[in-house]
Symmetry: C2
Subunit: 200 residues, 2 copies
DNA sequence: TGACAAACATACCATCTAGTCGGTATTATT
DNA sequence: AATAATACCGACTAGATGGTATGTTTGTCA
């Protein structure tokens, strides 16, 4: 394993509850959250609705568990990088590569995350948002460090992160793992743009 | 009016059908497309459901009309810029400013655009996507011109545009017109990042 | 072998929703 | 004044949906 690879891979669960969450995720992403019924989920999981409710309290809970599971895993990948790398520029590059690798590995999860977070209850939504803020703060911190050491030049690191993550996040709308460019090639183009811009 | 301002302002309709579309848009964005019932829309428009169906054939049609009206207006703003400016770098800058001004002026429209396009029928969705491609092509063309003239350095103008527009588009998730930074200030930071990157 | 809990299935309910249809008031036209 | 089109209202329906309550089977362990 080289220092550059991100090593991000999706967990492999196998118990019934995890399987239900996985098929629910797939259905939510293809059909949408509301157009997917608990009946649909049950069938796709090889259960009846009654059986489904043995494992999960409500449709809300399914949505929440999917959000929570994703953001927790995403955060844990980023935190690993944060500890490993010290140099701010190198750290930012590796954080970005990891972020794009997460988009690659967790495409459905992130799609749901951006499309259906608004359907969480106020309370749960706050909980998830707070963890998403932690995710962003890791990037902000890296950029602040770079700015303090004089390697980055930017008016506001908060805005810079919104800009950078926005560009990456939006990939979930067009990125296809089987497409022309691999995620690593895309990452290189992105990082080039972020670091040096478009102008020669 | 200076050459730099974008002059993008939202149209002001006033007939009943337009009013219905406006309240529907507002409800779709705050509550979501499916959780908003035709009953809700009728009430918000000061009608009964029967009255609502006098103006609109179906809920699908409401969704389509909102998408179409937005993308057509957005396209027309961009095309104006395309004609006005010749220099590639200046053109790209003005296109970007216009894009952000559109996000500012059409925040709800663009939110629905990204959240609910998947709920259009296959046919209508293709129609809308095709116009969205035209929108992107305007940017691609500007970057290609700049690359041919040797002012831009980028591996793929398509990817560059996905990157650039992605960063802008994602603003719809966090931008608030009443927030700390005006859209012009944000535009300046964004354009700085896009043109010259983060590194000193 | 009997008891008991885990892992489901079946049948059901109350509620909500998009859409329809016949009717009516109002305004414009001839 | 008669006709007709416009702009609605009120009541209704058929289907779908989240969730529940009550079984039934299967495995485990004393």
């Amino acid at each position: 394993m080289t220092t550059d690879s991100t090593n991000v891979t999706r967990r492999q669960g196998s118990d019934t509850k995890t399987e239900i969450l996985d098929v629910a995720l797939s259905l939510f992403v293809t059909k949408g959250y509301h157009p997917t019924s608990m009946q649909d989920i049950a069938e796709a999981a090889g259960l009846t609705k009654g059986g489904l409710y043995y494992y999960l309290k409500s449709k809300d809970e399914v949505l929440y568990l999917l959000h929570d599971r994703f953001i927790m895993e995403g955060l844990s990948w980023l935190r690993k990088v944060e500890e490993e790398v010290n140099d701010p520029e190198k750290k930012l590059v590796k954080l970005l590569k990891t972020h794009l690798a997460i988009i690659d590995q967790y495409k459905d999860d992130i799609t749901l995350f951006f499309e259906a977070m608004k359907y969480l209850s106020q309370e749960k939504r706050q909980e998830v948002k707070s963890k998403r803020d932690d995710y962003e703060k890791i990037f902000i911190k890296a950029i602040e460090e770079g700015r303090n050491q004089g390697v980055f030049s930017i008016a506001s690191s908060e805005i810079a992160v919104l800009y950078i993550l926005g560009a990456g996040n939006f990939m979930y709308t067009w990125y296809k793992p089987e497409g022309k460019k691999t995620i690593e090639e895309l990452a290189d183009i992105f990082i080039g743009m972020i670091m040096n811009g478009l102008v020669k």
